[in-house]
Every structure is written in C-alpha cells, then in structure tokens.
Symmetry: C2
Subunit: 294 residues, 2 copies
DNA sequence: ATTGTACCATTAGATTTTCTTGCGCTTCCC
DNA sequence: GGGAAGCGCAAGAAAATCTAATGGTACAAT
C-alpha cells in the first residue's frame, strides 16, 4: 500500500545512517550534510511513531527496532540495486548523463572515450544533445562565457577560429584574398564568423552572405572534408582532422574567441563522485585552467 | 552502491505505472498528474539507457525488460512495506500526523477519538503540538481567520467566548459585576479576552490585568475545574465539561469571535485519502460549513 | 467521415521537498 | 581547559517534483 509507505528519501537516509553508524557517515555517502540526514530520520520517526535511534551528544545508537528495520530496508535496497544492475546490464557500473553539443561530443569526446573508459571502467557515459529539463542530466558541457546562474562552471577549452579545408583545396589559396572566388562554409551562432576573421586579417570585399550554412559544426566539418569549401573551423572540433592531414589551415592567422567550452554542474551534482571524476578527467585532457564558480 | 541507484521517486513512479498498466493509473495511485509520471519514467530511461515502455498514442506497453524490472522493484517495495508495517506495528494501517494546538487536541479531538477509530480503523492519528517544519506533518488544525497562504482551509468550528467556572463558584456570581471580587483566569492570545467580553456586556471597572494567566487553554480549564477562578472559556474546548456539569456558565451572554478553528493542508496533501478521510470526519463531527480555498 | 474520449509528450513555471548554513549544545580525548 | 566530533534546530536557499497548458495520436461511437 503505497500510501502507508514513508517517503523513500527518508528511508534511504535512515538505512544509510543505520548501516554506517552515524549521520555524518550517511551524509558523506549520500552527498548531503548530516543535518539533512537528521531531519529525514526525525520525520520518519514522527511518521512511524517509533524511535529508531537513541540520541547521544557524541553520536547516535540504533534501537533494536531501528536495527531490525534497517536490515529489512537494506535487503529491499539491495534488491533494487540488483534489479537496476541487471536491467541496466552494467553491474556496479553507473551511468553519467551529460548534455553536450553534438559536435563537441563527436569531435572531441568520442575520440577520447577509450581513454576515459580505461581510467574509469565503472562509469558509463551517455552523451545527449537534447535538453531533458532540469535535473534530468548529471552535467553539461556548453560553449559560452562561464556565467551560467546556479551552476559551477569549470573552464575546459579556449577556442581559436581559423579557416580550414582539404590540402587539395588549399593549393589554390595563397592569401586570404583568394577566398573571394571560393565556397565559404558557415556555422552561424558564434561571435566569431567569417566577417570577424576577415576583419581580423584586414581583408575586405568578400561576400560573406554567400556559401553553405550548417546548424551544427560537424556538418560543416564533413562538408570541408568532402572538399566542398573552406570552413571557418574551431580548434577543439577539428584537431584530429588537422593532425591526420584530412584538413589543413591554409593561413596562419587564428582568431582567439571570447567564448570557451565549459563543464557545468549544479553544486549538488558536482559533489557526486562520478561527476567529479568526469570533470577531473576532462581537465586532465585539456590545458590547465582555473575553475570559476558562477 | 547508492550512487548507481536511480532516484527512488523515479522508481516508485515506474513500478506503479508498470503494475497498473498506465501513466494515468499510476498518477491516480500516487496523487500526481500523469505528466509527472511520464517525466519520471523518461528520466529513468535516460539514466538507465534502456527503454522500459513502448509508447503508443493510446497508451504504453511494458517492454520485456520493463516487466522484469518492475517485478523486481515490486518485490523490493513489498519488502519495504512489510518492514515498515512490522516496525510501525500497524499492518496496513497508516499514520496521519496532524499539527494541532494542545488544547484542541485534548479537549476536542481526544474525546472523540473512539469515533474516528471506529469509522477509520486503518488510520492511526498522531497529534503533535510541535512545529516540525514544512512537509513533515500531513495536516494542521489552527485557530484563525482562514487566510493562510498556500493551504486549503476548511472551516471546522466557530467559537463562542464566555465565562465558566464550577457550580460552587457560580453560586456567588449573580451578575457580571460580581466578577470584581473574584479571580479571573486568562488565556492570552485571542482577540476576545476579558476586556472584550466585559465591554460586550457593558460592565466597567473590573481590573482585567489581575488574575492568573496560562499559555494554553487546557491549563486554564484545569484551574477552573479546580475552582481557582472564572475562566473566559471557548465553546470548542469545554463542551464536555459543560455537558457533565463540571463547569457551568454563570452568565448567558456569549461573545461570537472573529476567529475559528480551521483544518489546513497543502493541495497535494489534501488529495491523499487519509487526509481527505480525516477532514471529512471532522466536518461530520462539526456543524455544516463551507470549505474556503485560501 | 467526423467527433469525442483517453492517453501520453513536452515545456514553462509553480510548488514542494530537500538541503545548507549558522549556531548551539554535549561528550570525549588530549 | 581546549579541540574535535557529532547531533539538533530554525531559517532560508537550492533542488526536485509537480501542475498547467497545449499538442499529438489512436480508437470507439455516431
């Protein structure tokens, strides 16, 4: 009878406190303060009309009743964990759900996933480009300026913007002026676009309203790889293509943008081990940066 | 491993939907909208990386995986319910926690508890005078004007205020002027006090700053029963004493106050069966009144 | 073919639940 | 005597949950 069941979060707090022998220990396991645990257990006792712990100034002790209840709850939670592990098919592994731009996921994270898996075999990643609403994902990676409200923002990558194309396409590009006669590939949505770059290198008279436009960088990258034009690329998303020679930078001028890629998580989520582990791994994979609390 | 466990409320929503075969059915059982169930299950599937339901425009169908998972979760929740029933010692009975003024609990509810228990044998009551903070109690009974924010208020009792004392004490009280030479018993905190009543009956010159003062009506009632003075009593709290003759009203003038006793619950709590049952019972026990949404 | 009903999906914002913070207290150890 | 550890409490902040509104589809009834 669901309606006689106490709130499950209270039971979770109680079971953890009983198993670990302290509110402080339970708080550490559940990533909350001991005060939160105390309030849950107090509420549970109010609801049940029974004392589960004897209170002492230097710690709590389970009552006999509390110990029996905790044992049974422990078995129930064990069943839940086993069922979840069986259904998810990952044993003691856990899922980390991250909201990431498609291009960053494909171009930057996917090529390194083997490294993450090797160093964190118990964490499965789910990268989603969709917005699932508040609290449904564990963390996010966003491009911007780091000033998101209510999120801890950790700087991952500063980007540089510069033209790229195939080596063959580059043969006819000796100076930026040569872009006039070529197809420009655009990915709108950033402050740095063809106008910005051309102004940066002091070239005028090129029609930047022409060319092909893509909603996502990865589409433009693919078009460039297929030799369909010159893409205004960004470092983070094409470093493998540059390294392999699939794409080259026909000019050496690069534009340092104001935006960067940031790792975002709410303070509560940021404290969970899997989020911490992923963030630290990302930081290891990128240049040293300082975390900026937003 | 607690950290790989999905949020328990998501599991609860999923298990109910699976067992009842619809999101609408699960919503009805858990007193939430089907939309809430839908969002929880979607989030769970995101977290697990597995589909638990096949979606159809006219309803959902469990996948095989979903059915297996729901069966195991059902067993776990069954363990939780059994353990809770064993510890609480009330089988399928459930606890209703109500925040009530001490005097109202003792003087009005307690004398009728047998009637409530007889008509609702599956609901145990816990009456508490303490404030346990938001969301820790299921409902409240308060004295006031019915304008609490965010609470559904149902009028229970309008009160009348008038002097009461023992029959023996009343022998020397032929008119309100006779109160001048007697001990007044006060329960401060109401708009209607001795000053108000005396003004109401047109009597002046009685020192209402003298006498004994009690923080709770039940103390004053006991003092009156012990013949220690004349209490300015209120209908709801002394009807049994009046009926038994322990206390009498030496004068017939009664003061209709502005305040009343109200039954309060948040809209969410108000929808739960046990809260509904208790409120309806209270209404049956009191004069017919109209519910006022606050 | 049309209409009504039932159900679920999605998004934005409201509400509720949960949690943190700050402070206070006690016990125990050094 | 002082420091460390632990829990309690209340107020307010943060997070989680939920509702409302709208839209869509399938199916049954007409």
């Amino acid at each position: 009878m669901a309606s006689a069941r106490p709130p499950l979060n209270w039971l979770r707090a109680f079971e953890a406190a009983a198993r670990l022998g302290s509110f402080a220990g339970a708080g550490a396991e559940l990533n909350v303060t001991p005060s939160a645990i105390s309030q849950h257990i107090r509420a549970l006792e109010l609801r049940l009309g029974k004392e589960l712990f004897d209170r002492h100034a230097n710690g709590v002790r389970l009552t006999d009743r509390g110990r029996r209840y905790a044992e049974e709850l422990g078995r129930a939670f064990g069943l839940i964990d086993e069922a979840t592990a069986r259904i998810a098919g990952r044993g003691t592994r856990e899922m980390l759900v991250v909201h990431v731009p498609t291009s960053f996921a494909s171009q930057w994270i996917a090529p390194r996933l083997d490294l993450f898996r090797a160093s964190h075999p118990t964490i499965d990643l789910r990268l989603t480009a969709l917005d699932h609403g508040e609290g449904k994902v564990d963390a996010a990676i966003e491009f911007g300026w780091g000033n998101w409200p209510k999120r801890e923002a950790t700087l991952l990558l500063r980007d540089e913007t510069f033209p790229v194309c195939t080596p063959k396409y580059a043969e006819s590009l000796n100076s930026p002026e040569d872009l006039r006669a070529r197809d420009l590939l655009h990915v709108p949505g950033y402050d740095e676009d063809w106008d910005t770059w051309l102004a940066h290198v002091g070239v005028t008279g090129i029609d930047t309203s022409a060319g092909s436009f893509f909603d996502q960088s990865i589409m433009g990258i693919r078009a460039a790889i297929e030799g369909k034009g010159v893409l205004l690329g960004r470092t983070a998303l094409i470093e493998r293509e540059l390294a392999s020679g699939l794409l080259v930078a026909p000019f050496e001028q690069r534009l340092r943008g104001a935006g960067s890629y940031w790792f975002l998580a709410t303070p509560q989520k940021a404290r969970t081990p899997k989020v911490t582990a992923f963030r630290d791994w990302l930081l290891n994979m990128t240049a040293p940066v300082a975390a900026v609390g937003a």
